[in-house]
Symmetry: C2
Subunit: 157 residues, 2 copies
Amino acid sequence: MSATARKRLDAMAAKVKASGLKLTPQRLAIMRLLAESEDHPGADGIWRRLKRRFPGISQATVYRTVQLVKSLGEACEIAFADGGSRYDGRKPYPHPHIVCLACGRIIDPELRSLGDMTREAATASGFEIKTFRLDFFGTCPECSKNKTKTMPTRRIK
Amino acid sequence: MSATARKRLDAMAAKVKASGLKLTPQRLAIMRLLAESEDHPGADGIWRRLKRRFPGISQATVYRTVQLVKSLGEACEIAFADGGSRYDGRKPYPHPHIVCLACGRIIDPELRSLGDMTREAATASGFEIKTFRLDFFGTCPECSKNKTKTMPTRRIK
DNA sequence: CTAAGTGCAAATGATTTGCAGGTAT
DNA sequence: ATACCTGCAAATCATTTGCACTTAG
């Protein structure tokens, strides 16, 4: 487990304890997966990976824990149009994504111009901007090469 | 009915006929609502407005038609984290939104910097960007004045 | 005519919840 | 001890689909 992942896991565990909640083995395992996964796993994926080590773990527990960690501000949810959500416990704050429509990969780009655009949105509208959601969809370099056919386009909610 | 709305409705009707599909009264009514609504209505809202004039209209027909118009490229869907989708038949192409968390209002800002940011995302990632989804969430000027308490935060999928 | 469309109700599918029995602290 | 948790299964909820009956062209 990397140092950054360890830090993230510790932050999650600390918030849980600070809220007077319990650190069960299931929660630890789910939080650990959230803290170290770089592939933005979905609830179902987390559940499938976990039941190797916790044969009896229920999806309900995964959903409950993921929601808990999110509500504590220690993970963020990326919900897609097709109803599925994916989670990121490494960067628990809102950030942009680029999704490959062919292979489903999601990367986190650094966008220098994002701050300016947020300011432009606030100025243009008079809104007090609290948060945002930004996703780009396209084809990653690998899939572009392979000329793989595009996945059945998701319903972008 | 405004000139722009008329144009949008005509475009939708043309695509439907060009696809060898039928222009039923229900479809016309739904498309008309899509073409002239500036408030990004949801499927349920469309259905409720329509059953005044079409007492027997079913939600299934609304969903089917809205999907049809979207698949013809004549409306776009804005799907939110809480599972609900809203539609825009006035601008059938992807565009940014600003959502008021207090009253639910959605506006379409003009963002000059959007093109630059898309280019930055493409360059930084090597992806071929096909489309995007950009929403800002905050409080509109009216709700800021009224100091209305924020709506129970939607799950931002 | 007849392929398409409609209303209705049942089916989906991801997520949530009620409950009865466990378990961290 | 005793809140808090977990697994299980039933319940949600927006949306989709199967079917028998209409209807636009």
